[in-house]
């Protein structure tokens, strides 16, 4: 039995040889850190004061469960998701539907490229540029709203006013990633056979009916891809780090940013406790992913 297994492994040696570099990289820089994070989460581990490091069992998780900052930062993260995810999915879908209408014209490639460009720009630079556009005295957004469009806009301190700072960051993300959603939906729309629409037309369906009965159900796989790819947004850190550093008054202190500050900025760099925060985030992402998968699967069936 064992010799058979070994023989099988020996026969596949070229395969192992081919994946050896991949395994080395992933093993060292992906799997090992994940395992190490799990271990750290059971330790009192302060990077700048290593003398007190020790295993403490579930103490970090208990502290996590009692920490009011957890719920505050979750709330901020979910406000952000609630503003950002639906809006950019709907806008991306609308753009894709519009583009699909002109798909045979020459202009469509140009439209598609220009609408997609924000996606390929480096995120930190875009975040800085938006920060400058939001500048209350010299930025262009207030100028545009108040002087040009004559909208009586009151919240001019975009990133310094706790009421609009989070929406301002969501707006930036919306702007940057709608094009990506658009391309995904465009791929999905191209995969729908046009005969279905013709059949629906013969049966007397109007445009809205064929959209809700044919287009949306057949785009289910795309919604699934978006859901899976957007799970990473639960850990959003970079945008608030660059634009507001969690302020004003913690109004943009997302879960990921708080954990990052715990590990790399505040006090003695409490990496153990921060790892517990990160582990809980990973668990949450897994649970949401599975729920979303189940939901979309049963809906499609």
């Amino acid at each position: 039995m064992i010799t058979e297994k070994l023989e099988e492994i020996w026969k596949g040696r070229i395969g192992y040889l081919f994946i050896a570099p991949l395994l080395a990289y992933i093993g060292i820089f992906v799997f090992f850190p994940v395992g190490y994070t799990l271990m750290l989460s059971f330790m009192r581990y302060e990077f700048l004061r290593p003398s007190r490091n020790a295993f403490v069992g579930f103490a970090n998780y208990i502290e996590w469960a009692c920490d009011p900052e957890v719920w505050h930062s979750f709330k901020i993260t979910f406000y952000f998701l609630a503003m950002y995810i639906p809006s950019h999915v709907i806008y991306g879908l609308v753009l894709a539907l519009l583009l699909f209408k002109v798909t045979k014209r020459k202009m469509s490639t140009l439209y598609r490229c220009l609408l997609y460009i924000p996606v390929v720009l480096p995120l930190p630079i875009v975040a800085y540029a938006w920060k400058w556009m939001y500048d209350p005295s010299w930025g262009v957004i207030n100028h545009l709203l108040i002087d040009i469009l004559h909208i009586p806009w009151k919240y001019t301190g975009w990133l310094t006013d706790s009421r609009v700072a989070l929406p301002a960051i969501a707006l930036m993300s919306f702007w940057q990633y709608s094009g990506w959603i658009m391309i995904l939906f465009l791929v999905g729309l191209n995969n729908i056979p046009s005969s279905l629409y013709e059949a629906a037309k013969i049966d007397g369906a109007n445009a809205w009916q064929s959209f809700t009965r044919i287009t949306l159900p057949l785009l289910k796989p795309i919604f699934f891809v978006i859901l899976i790819m957007r799970l990473a947004v639960l850990g959003i850190t970079v945008q608030p780090l660059i634009m507001t550093e969690g302020g004003p008054e913690k109004a943009t202190m997302t879960y990921g940013l708080y954990a990052y500050f715990l590990a790399f900025r505040w006090g003695n760099w409490r990496m153990g406790y921060a790892s517990a925060w990160y582990m809980m985030l990973a668990i949450l992402a897994t649970v949401l992913g599975i729920i979303g998968w189940r939901f979309l699967k049963t809906e499609a069936a």
């Binding site: 490229c113 609408l115 262009v140 790819m229 850990g235 990052y260 990160y278």
Partner: protein, 284 residues
């Protein structure tokens, strides 16, 4: 008949109008950055604010390129890191993609899916552990300390795409070569690699874009200009008119210069972006 045509034309003009509005929104950031960067500094800080420049100058770009000595260093670091990481990814993901698509060995699918499953978690969750790993390897604040994790993190996407590409090549080609006396490695090297160059383009563009723009890991690992890539260098250029330091025009010129590699890649390979999404994201 005429009414039908009129209706169709009307729909089309509405569609075009909305698309043009969308394009204006997407391009506005660019437009503003360009307008700020090509005007003299004084104009930016004068009331009333205007969007369009009243006079033009190249002084801001000159200042970024020739008077800020570190910016070129950051830029160079960014290019070295990105190109080395993308190059390694291209090579390793081709090997691994071939193995996962074609070769048989125990545990193949389990290994593959275990690796792919980790893509969907934000990589920030293992940041403290990764930092300690690099610290104990004496790799913090070095270029290699960024190249290695970047390669590992985006290798997963590369492997996913390359496996798909190898699966799409008909098996007959290889079988014929093996019958003619070509070894497995010879088949890979002489016959398959030329066929998957399209896959390499897709892997290249889809890893270049995020690595060139990666922030959080670089922000954590680097601490001196010798290893900082340009995405971190930007922080030094943040405009702070209160201290009379860097100004909007200088910062916007720098950010436009940082956009250039992304834009070049995008314009050169624009049709591959759609194809790549079809190949990579929808068929796993």
């Amino acid at each position: 008949m005429n009414l039908d045509r009129f209706k169709k034309n009307l729909t089309m003009s509405v569609v075009h109008t909305f698309l043009i509005i969308g394009v204006i929104i997407s391009m506005f950031l660019f437009f503003w950055l360009v307008c700020i960067s090509i005007r003299p500094v004084k104009q930016t800080y004068s009331v009333p604010i205007t969007i369009l420049p009243r006079s033009l100058t190249t002084a801001n770009f000159k200042e970024v390129l020739f008077e800020l000595p570190l910016i070129t260093k950051y830029y160079e670091n960014g290019l070295i890191i990105t190109f080395t990481a993308v190059g390694s990814i291209l090579f390793i993901s081709a090997l691994a993609g071939y193995a996962f698509a074609r070769l048989r060995f125990p545990g193949r699918d389990i290994i593959f899916w275990a690796i792919i499953a980790t893509i969907f978690f934000p990589y920030t969750i293992s940041l403290p552990a990764l930092y300690q790993l690099l610290y104990s390897l004496h790799l913090t604040d070095t270029l290699l300390g960024l190249i290695l994790p970047y390669t590992a993190l985006w290798l997963r996407l590369g492997t996913l795409i390359m496996r798909q590409v190898f699966l799409s090549i008909p098996r007959d080609i290889e079988d014929a070569a093996i019958i003619d006396g070509c070894s497995r490695i010879g088949v890979f090297w002489r016959i398959l690699l030329p066929l998957v160059s399209s896959g390499w383009v897709v892997v290249g563009i889809f890893t270049f874009v995020p690595i060139w723009g990666e922030f959080i890991l670089a922000y954590t690992i680097t601490s001196t200009p010798k290893s900082m890539p340009i995405s971190i260098g930007m922080k030094m250029l943040e405009p702070n008119p209160a201290f009379g330091e860097w100004t909007f025009p200088v910062a916007t010129s720098a950010s436009l210069l940082i956009f250039i590699p992304s834009l070049v890649i995008f314009v050169m390979f624009q049709k591959w972006f759609t194809r790549g999404i079809t190949a990579g994201a929808l068929k796993f």
